[in-house]
């Protein structure tokens, strides 16, 4: 354990020393991965998906811009690629993203990155880490960010799976194409089940980790994960949404392990040394529970000069 704690301190030290370079580097890598994965899935517009130069330039720009621009450029890439499939697809994608930005992200800009991360995690088959992490680190309001990310992923998935069908429809049938896209998205019961499951995970994890009980974070993530998986399974049995049981269980286990890793970096406390103190002032009585953080003193290297 102490070796792990030492490693954590070293990592923190490395990051704080090289923050000026590391933050833009991480932003660049994240932007590049987001844009390339969009192009890999729905790269129907040759101008932006045909070569790597445009995603590379945009990712470089993102490394110097605020984090939200990754989502903005990602949304732009999705809209342009959808437009390449058909004008109606492009309109629906644009409308979805504009609604997200003007209704929600204008007053919750900190959570915007969830919209970029959630589709990526869906592709890696571990989407459950995002609602768990949001429940651990953010407020219940962030459930809207998770919902936006889920909608963004299913929009991309729908375009990917139905691009040929949409293209095959006659050009004169513009309204037919539009209806096909809207019906496909609104009629997809899997989206609703996933939205409910993720909302339950976020709220459960948040409520439990706020409780004044030992190991609240671990209990929160486990209960949230199990509840989420149960809702997904019940939804699958009731509406036949074709959610793979093996993928769900493995994805949930991997997500929980990642959440434990996250907890180690963000909330690492030693419950065995918990102290309960009680005192008063003129106005209140205080019943305080103090849980010490796990930490290791950094070894100081002394250089002795011998002349």
């Amino acid at each position: 354990m102490s070796a792990l704690l030492e490693m954590r301190e070293k990592l923190r030290d490395i990051y704080s020393k090289g923050e000026v370079y590391l933050t833009p580097l991480f932003k660049f890598l994240l932007a590049l991965v987001v844009l390339l994965s969009i192009n890999a899935n729905i790269g129907y517009m040759d101008r932006i998906a045909g070569n790597i130069i445009i995603p590379l330039i945009v990712a470089l720009m993102c490394s110097f811009l605020p984090m939200n621009f990754i989502v903005l450029f990602g949304a732009l890439f999705v809209c342009l690629n959808s437009y390449a499939v058909s004008l109606e697809c492009g309109i629906v994608a644009l409308a979805a993203f504009v609604l997200m930005f003007i209704l929600y992200f204008r007053f919750s800009s900190k959570d915007t990155i969830v919209v970029a991360l959630l589709p990526l995690m869906f592709m890696l088959k571990i989407p459950y880490i995002i609602p768990i992490a949001v429940g651990l680190l953010c407020t219940p309001l962030s459930v809207v960010s998770v919902a936006c990310g889920t909608v963004a992923y299913y929009l991309v998935l729908f375009i990917k799976e139905n691009a040929q069908t949409i293209s095959d429809l006659e050009t004169e049938e513009a309204i037919g194409k539009f209806r096909f896209v809207i019906d496909g998205l609104l009629g997809n019961q899997e989206i609703i089940i996933v939205l409910i499951a993720f909302s339950v995970i976020v709220i459960t994890v948040y409520v439990i980790r706020m409780l004044s009980i030992d190991h609240s974070w671990t209990i929160g993530m486990c209960v949230g994960g199990v509840l989420g998986a149960t809702i997904l399974l019940i939804g699958d049995l009731s509406f036949d949404t074709h959610i793979s049981l093996l993928s769900l269980i493995l994805g949930m286990i991997a997500s929980l392990l990642l959440a434990v890793g996250l907890q180690f970096f963000v909330f690492n406390v030693d419950y065995s040394r918990t102290e309960y103190v009680q005192f008063e002032d003129d106005e209140y009585y205080y019943y305080v529970k103090a849980v010490p953080k796990n930490s290791v003193p950094q070894t100081k290297v002394k250089v002795k000069k011998i002349h």
Partner: protein, 133 residues
């Protein structure tokens, strides 16, 4: 000689000014009523744009039926319905924004109060140092 306690305080204040403090100072530079009014106006504009987008999508989805029925339908009643839904949508969204921005204003004021206390502390430290020298 460097006063370590003062240095620590100044570092904390500088870090606050650079990030959270910047936003909080911008918020607290308004009177509460002015700030809330501005945010509500912005919310109404955003809600109006969002409603227009949703309404546009709704009409386009049923465009053929809409064009067939346009001469038969009671346009006044249709207009009233559209307006009613618009008002409900805008009021609901503005209410949510009002709650969010009220909390944000309250938190900004509270956080700035702590910052001003630190400023006072710093000023007291300088005074003490002057008197000593």
């Amino acid at each position: 000689m460097i006063n370590q306690e003062r240095l620590r305080l100044m570092t904390k204040m500088a870090a606050y000014e650079a990030d959270e403090g910047k936003k909080n100072m911008a918020i607290a530079s308004y009177f509460r009523s002015d700030y809330m009014g501005l945010q509500i106006i912005k919310s109404i504009i955003c809600a109006t744009i969002a409603y227009l987008i949703i309404f546009g999508l709704f009409i386009y989805y049923d465009f053929e039926t809409f064009m067939q029925d346009i001469y038969k339908m009671d346009l006044m009643a249709f207009g009233k319905n559209v307006l009613l839904y618009y008002v409900i949508f805008v009021v609901a969204y503005s209410l949510i924004c009002y709650i969010v921005y009220s909390i944000r204003y309250y938190k900004a004021k509270k956080s700035l109060k702590k910052y001003y206390n630190r400023l006072k502390q710093l000023s007291a430290m300088y005074d003490l140092e002057k008197r000593k020298s």
